[in-house]
C-alpha cells in the first residue's frame, strides 16, 4: 500500500465528515479515523495453532452545538454510514447539557510541526516466515530445561495502522505506525507443582526485536525458576519490584495525577502540585519525541502538541496529566495528554539489578502481580504477588500465594533505589524499584 497516498485519501474522507457535521448544524467538530491490518500466527508444540488476518477500521466523531457535546462511532466507512454517524452524534448533542468546559482545544495549543518519529517500519513477513520464527522460539524454550513439560505456544504479531485526526479549527493530520511482537509461554512441572510464565519482545521495527532464541530462553528460565514455590508468613519487609512490573507503580501515579481524577477530587494526590511525593533522587519525564519508541506522538487525541517535560523533578510533582476538558475544569492548560501519556521515563539510578538485591539484603523480590487492588482515591494498595525470597542479597527460593500491601503515598516516598535495568517494552520506562517496606501476607 502506498501509505502517503492512502493517508491523503483518508484525510479527504475526514474532511468531508467535518463538513457534514457543519452542514448538520454543529458549531464545532472533531473526528478520528483509523485503519489497521495485521497478521498473527501462533504455534504450539511445533504445530501451527492459529493464523489470523486482522483488518480493522473505525471512525469516531464528536460534535459541539455551542457547549453541548455528542459523539458517535462506526466500523462502517461507507458514505451512508458516515452520514448516519454524524447524525447520531448531532442527535445526542440535543440532549446533553451545556457544559462550559466542553469544546475543542485552544487553537494555539494545536500541533503545527510534525517531525518524523520513525514509527513506521512494515515487515514483509510471510505466514511461513512467521511460523518458522515462532516455532524456533518455542523450540528453544521447550529444549531449555528438562522440567519444561508443556507449552501454551509462541506467537508472532505484525500490525500496521494509519491514524487520521482532524477538527473544525483546521487541524488535519495523519500518520502511519507499525508494531511487531513475538511472545512465548511455557509450562514446567516438578511433582505436583506446575508453573507457567512467558516473555515477549515488541518494537516498531522488526529489526529491533529480541531474537526468537532470547525470547524462548527467557520464557523458559522464568518458568523453571518458579517451581516449588512456597508462601510467606505475614511480615513487614523491603520489596523489590522487577522492572517489567514496576511500570505499574508509575501507571498508578499517572492515574492519580490525571485530570479526571483531579477534578473529581478522587485521587490520593489531590493538591500535591509542587510538593514532595517521591524522594529527592526521583526524576520522571514525559518524552513524546523519542525516535521509534512505542509511546511517541507529536500530538494527542485532540491534536494538542505534546511536549518533552518534567512530571517529577527532585521528588517534587511538577505537572499534571490533562486533556482540554479536565484542564478547563481545573482552570489550567491542556498538557497534551488526551488519550494518555507518551513515553513516561523514570530516570534510572546507577545500580544494576544484582546491586539492588545487595542493597535490599533481605526481603521480597516481586516478579508478578495479580488483581486490581489499587484504590486511586485513597492510595490503598493490596495485590496478589509471586516472586522470590532474598536473604543477604541472594535469591533463596520462589514464593507465591502471597499479597503485598501498603499505601501508594507511603510507597512512593519509601522508594530507596531505581535500577539501571530499564525495560523499554512499554509506554512506561523504568528499571527495577526498591521500596523500603511493605506488608506481606501469606501462610
Amino acid at each position: 500500500m502506498n501509505t502517503s497516498a492512502h493517508i491523503d485519501e483518508l484525510k479527504h474522507t475526514l474532511h468531508s465528515l467535518l463538513n457534514e457535521a457543519k452542514l448538520q448544524g454543529a458549531s464545532a467538530a472533531e473526528a478520528g479515523l483509523n485503519q489497521e491490518n495485521g497478521l498473527s500466527v501462533s504455534v504450539r508444540l511445533g504445530e501451527v495453532e492459529t493464523i489470523e488476518h486482522h483488518c480493522d477500521q473505525g471512525l469516531g466523531i464528536t460534535v459541539y452545538f455551542d457547549q453541548h457535546k455528542g459523539s458517535a462511532s462506526t466500523s462502517d466507512l461507507s458514505p451512508d454510514s458516515i452520514k448516519e454517524t454524524v447524525r447520531a452524534a448531532c442527535s445526542i448533542a440535543r440532549y446533553t447539557s451545556s457544559d462550559f468546559c466542553a469544546g475543542l482545544p485552544e487553537h494555539n495549543l494545536l500541533q503545527t510541526e510534525f517531525p518524523e518519529l520513525d514509527l513506521y517500519h512494515p515487515w514483509s513477513l510471510t505466514t511461513d516466515d512467521a511460523i518458522d520464527l515462532a516455532t524456533h522460539c518455542e523450540n528453544t524454550a521447550l529444549n531449555f530445561h528438562p522440567a519444561i513439560s508443556n507449552s501454551e505456544g509462541a506467537s508472532i504479531n505484525s500490525h500496521q495502522g494509519i491514524y487520521i485526526l482532524g477538527n473544525s479549527l483546521g487541524f488535519l493530520h495523519g500518520y502511519a505506525t507499525t508494531r511487531h511482537s513475538l511472545s512465548c509461554s511455557v509450562l514446567a512441572q516438578a511433582g505436583d507443582s506446575m508453573q507457567r510464565d512467558f516473555w515477549y519482545t515488541v518494537a516498531r521495527n522488526a529489526l529491533h526485536l529480541d531474537s526468537p532464541e532470547q525470547v524462548g530462553k527467557t520464557a523458559a528460565e522464568r518458568t523453571v525458576r518458579r517451581l516449588n514455590a512456597r508462601s510467606l508468613t505475614p511480615r513487614q519487609c523491603p520489596v523489590l519490584y522487577s522492572a517489567n512490573i514496576a511500570s505499574g507503580l508509575f501507571g498508578s501515579l499517572i492515574g492519580a495525577i490525571s485530570g479526571g481524577a483531579l477534578y473529581r477530587k478522587s485521587t490520593f494526590l489531590l493538591d500535591c502540585l509542587d510538593t514532595l511525593i517521591f524522594p529527592e533522587f526521583v526524576h520522571i519525564h514525559e518524552q513524546p519525541y523519542l525516535l521509534g519508541a512505542l509511546g511517541s506522538a507529536a500530538y494527542d487525541n485532540e491534536g494538542v502538541a505534546t511536549h518533552t517535560r518534567d512530571i517529577v523533578n527532585q521528588g517534587l510533582l511538577r505537572s499534571y496529566v490533562l486533556n482540554s476538558y479536565s484542564a478547563r475544569k481545573l482552570g489550567m492548560q491542556s498538557t497534551g495528554n488526551a488519550g494518555g501519556i507518551h513515553n513516561l521515563t523514570i530516570e534510572s539510578g546507577t545500580q544494576t539489578f544484582a546491586e539492588l538485591l545487595t542493597t535490599m539484603d533481605t526481603g521480597l523480590y516481586v516478579t508478578e502481580l495479580m488483581g486490581q487492588g489499587v484504590n486511586i482515591v485513597t492510595g490503598d494498595y493490596s495485590r496478589g504477588a509471586a516472586g522470590f525470597w532474598v536473604e543477604h542479597g541472594v535469591i533463596q527460593y520462589p514464593v507465591e500465594e502471597i499479597t503485598i500491601a501498603g499505601n501508594l503515598k507511603d510507597m512512593f516516598k519509601a522508594i530507596i533505589a531505581i535500577g539501571n535495568d530499564v525495560d523499554l517494552r512499554g509506554n512506561v520506562r523504568t528499571g527495577s524499584v526498591l521500596i523500603e517496606h511493605m506488608s506481606i501476607a501469606g501462610v
Partner: protein
Amino acid sequence: MELLLLAKNNLLASTGITDQDIEKVLNSLLSSPLDTADIYFQSTHSESWVLENGIIKEGHHSIEQGAGIRAVIGEKTGFAYTDRLELPMLMTATQHVKGILKQGQNAQVNLKNHRNAPILYPSLNPLKSLSDQQKVDLLQKIDRETRQLDSRIEEVIVSLLGEHEHILVVDQNGQLTADIRPLVRLNVTVIMLDNGRREQGSMGGGERSNYQYFIDEERALNYGKEAVRLALVNLEATAAPAGNMTVVLGPGWPGILLHEAIGHGLEGDFNRKGTSAFSGRVGERVASSLCTVVDDGSLQGRRGSLTIDDEGTATQQTVLIENGILKGYLQDKLNARLMGVAPTGNGRRESYASLPLPRMTNTYMLPGQDDPEEIIASVQHGLYAKNFAGGQVDITSGKFVFSASEAYLIEHGKITRPVKGATLIGNGPEVLTRVSMVGNDLALDSGVGTCGKEGQSVPVGVGQPTLKIDGLTVGGTHIA
C-alpha cells in the same frame, strides 16, 4: 424462525448479501476437508450516557458490524474477518483463511434454517425502550435523589449503557442460527467527604432486557442508595488484617470466587492442552461435599445468558462440581471435538473480529442448609467480605485473587467494624475443600460482570450463597 428472519433482515438486507452468496462463500471455504468452519455475521448498536456534576456530560452512539470466517482442521485454526459486508470482501477473507488448508474438491453445501433454542430475552431494541429525553430525565432523577441522601456527597456519577446485538452463524453443514441480544447496564458512583477523608462507593446492575428494568422496583434509585451506603462504610473502615484466617463470603457478587478459583480452570481449552491446575482431574474431589457449582447460560434474561452461544450451540446448565466432585469442563466446538465430548454451549467471542473460546456464562453455587446468621456466629475471629471489585487467576498454578471492596471483622461470632478493601489470595483446587458451611441464601449478582480472556471481554454472571472458608489469605496491612 421469526428470530432468524429478523436477524437476517437486520444484518444482510441492506448489504445485498443473499443466501446464494453465503453458500458461495461457504462452498469456497469447504473446498478442502476440515473439521469445523463457520461464518459469523454480527452487528451491534450501542449507546452510553454519562451524568456527572449534575449535568448530562456525554452521550455516545456506536455501530459495529462485520463478519468473521473461520476454518479448523485438527488443532489448526485459520481466521480472517472483514468489517465490510460485501461479497468480494467475504471471498477475500475466505482466501486468507484457506491459507492453512490443503486444496481439495469442490464442495456443495446448501443453507438450512436451524430450529432455535427457547428464547431467553426479548429481541426488541433496548436503545428505543426510552426516548433520549426519558433517558436523560432518568439520570437526572437518580442524581437528584441520591444527592439528597447525605450532605457529605461531593460527586455523583451515573452511567447508562445499552446494547442491541444481532448475530447470524452459518456452520459447515450450512445450518443457520441467529440470536438477537439486548443488554442494559446502569451504574452509580458517589464520592463522599467526611472530616477531610474522601471515599468512593459504586453500585450497578443490569440484564438482557431494556431500560424499564431500572425504573421497575426503583432499581436505579436503589443503586444510588447502595453506593452511598458503601462509601459510608469505607469512610469508617480501618486497616485490614494481614494473614490467613476464616473468611465468610456474602451471597451474590462474591461468587466471583467461583469464577476465578474454579471457572477459568475448567475451561475446555486449558484442559485439552493440560495447562490447567484442574487438568485430568474429572471424578476427583476438588471441593467439600457441601459444594455443587454449575455454569448456566440458559437462565432467563441474565447478563451472562445466551439463547445460543457464538457458535450456534444452544446454552445449557453444565454441572462443574457436584457434591465436591469435579464433573466436567466448559466446551466450545473445537475443544469438545478434540476431547471427545459434546459442546456445552460455552463457545463465546467478543465480536466477529475475535476467535471463539470456551467461556463462562452465569457461574454459581447451589444453596446449602445453613442459616447465614449461624455461619457468622460460628466464627471466633475472621473476615466477612460482602462486596468485591474484581479478580484474576493463574490457571496453571491455580493461584487466584479477588479484591474485597466491602469487608468487616468478625469477632466472637459477631460482625464488628469495617476494614479497608484487601486482596484475598488462594489456590483454586484447594479453596473449596475448606468450605465448611454453605448458606441457604443463594443470590445471583446484580448484572455487572465482565470477564476478560486473551484480550476478549464478554458479559458474565456469578452467584453463590453465604460461604464459610476455613482459611484464606487476606492481604491487609495490619499484621497482628
